[in-house]
Symmetry: C2
């Protein structure tokens, strides 16, 4: 048995295509502004990927690069300015930023421009089933599952990793799709046994090779969201030997990461449409 | 083997005692306002229990009873008035109210007066580990576990029922305490097998006898939060025969319900202290 590879590149291109059609029909151009601090090459890379995809879709995008050493107060002042700028539909502060409290910055972004879906009000909307912008990476996982016909309804889903960015919001989305959801983490005892129960297994920790073949139920759908660099190479949380056991597997790279980028752009279009008062 | 009964009456009296001491030391009187609509006897009963405990603690309490047929707009106007009333520290709208959209009303309450902890901003604060008012029933379950020395750290916890009131926020609180948490519900396949994995099992559905002895791991801590009326008698979700298998069990009545009342009053004191700018 060899797992079906869930192709994030192909799936994200479909999202791009659908968004191009939708944006072309809008009587206005959605605008997305990125803010990033300092010279971290990874941050610069992530922002560039999102900018590039935004432009392809027809979303106007600009990035404000603030110098290393920008204070939290300065960053908050820029967020406030962009919040009140009627031309800005989506606002994404690329974190981490050195010397800045992430929670404070995230809570300062206008929830209706929060294309990362990390403002506490958007978190609460997600968990209570209300409309709101939703985090991109978990939305991408759900979209990939749907594209490949992975059944979520009634499935046992195990999410390893309880970050605000991925693990917790993904648990909410899987629950909404009527999966029985378990959140596992660093304090989980016998992680292997917990994972073996999963029809849908998501690894979102950032520890290379955390999930090995013996931890996977035969035929399960496995989503690799972890990301580490080992000897300059990008590797996920899922060991390559899982492909022999799983029914579906996201490759790394080329899996969930590209969907994250696509979902940020999709959120921008959604935010713009709502802000401009057009029906979604 | 016979389970230790987790006595909600005794535990809630301890909370009352601690709150009495704390309120007596405050230079002001915390104020709690209830709003309820119509003549539903259950609603009236719940509000009376909370009022009674509030008064015992030294919290000033008043209830606005609105006539059956009060429109949502009228209710929202009263909420707005109480939000802006500086004398009101805590505001609780007893739901359900006929003809009123619950989500709309909950989102209209000032989050810092929201002693039910159900405003989406408070939900988001809970899930992201930020300070905020937290739902009373799940807080009561955690407090009972602590009082009886039920270990949560590293435990496998299964919460049956995914309501906004109990199941979902309790999952967040158990996760915060480093339990491995599973949310099960009506679409869960083989609920018995899922429950049998639990060191900590919470039933919060409202279906009498849902959890039977064969679904409980010997020695587990079982919390009964369900509440139904059968032939005029209050019954929980947990079948009485579970007492022979569980290590700990909340009685029904006399278990989690009284803790809920105590936690609403505790939230009021916390809200008042924060609003008045005193250190908690």
């Amino acid at each position: 048995m060899s797992a079906v590879l869930m192709d994030g590149k192909a799936a994200s291109e479909e999202v791009v295509g659908a968004l191009q059609v939708r944006v072309a029909e809008l009587p206005f151009t959605p605008r997305l502004t990125f803010v990033r601090v300092g010279d971290d090459p990874a941050s610069a890379y992530y922002v560039r990927s999102k900018e590039r995809m935004a432009r392809r879709v027809g979303v106007a995008s600009e990035t404000r690069v603030l110098p290393e050493g920008t204070s939290q107060a300065e960053l908050l002042a820029i967020v406030a300015e962009l919040n009140s700028d009627p031309e800005v539909d989506g606002l994404l502060v690329q974190l981490p930023a050195p010397g800045v409290d992430e929670a404070t910055v995230l809570a300062a972004i206008d929830p209706d421009k929060d294309v990362d879906g990390l403002h506490p009000l958007n978190v609460g909307r997600l968990w209570t089933g209300r409309p709101g912008l939703r985090p991109a990476t978990p939305s991408g996982v759900i979209a990939l599952a749907d594209r490949y016909g992975v059944e979520l309804e009634g499935a046992r889903a195990v999410v390893v990793g309880r970050s605000n960015l991925v693990g917790k919001p993904l648990a909410a989305m899987l629950l909404e799709r009527n999966a029985t959801v378990t959140l596992a983490h660093s304090r989980t005892r016998d992680l292997a046994a917990v994972c073996r129960d999963a029809d849908v297994l998501v690894a979102a920790v950032g520890r290379p090779g955390l999930v090995t073949a013996d931890m996977v139920k035969p035929g399960a759908a496995v989503f690799d969201v972890g990301l580490s660099r080992v000897d300059g190479k990008v590797v996920g949380d899922v060991s390559p030997d899982v492909a022999a056991v799983a029914g579906w597997l996201t490759p790394m790279p080329g899996g969930t990461g590209l969907m994250t980028v696509a979902m940020v752009v999709a959120n921008t279009v959604e935010a713009a449409v709502r802000r401009q008062g057009h029906a979604a």
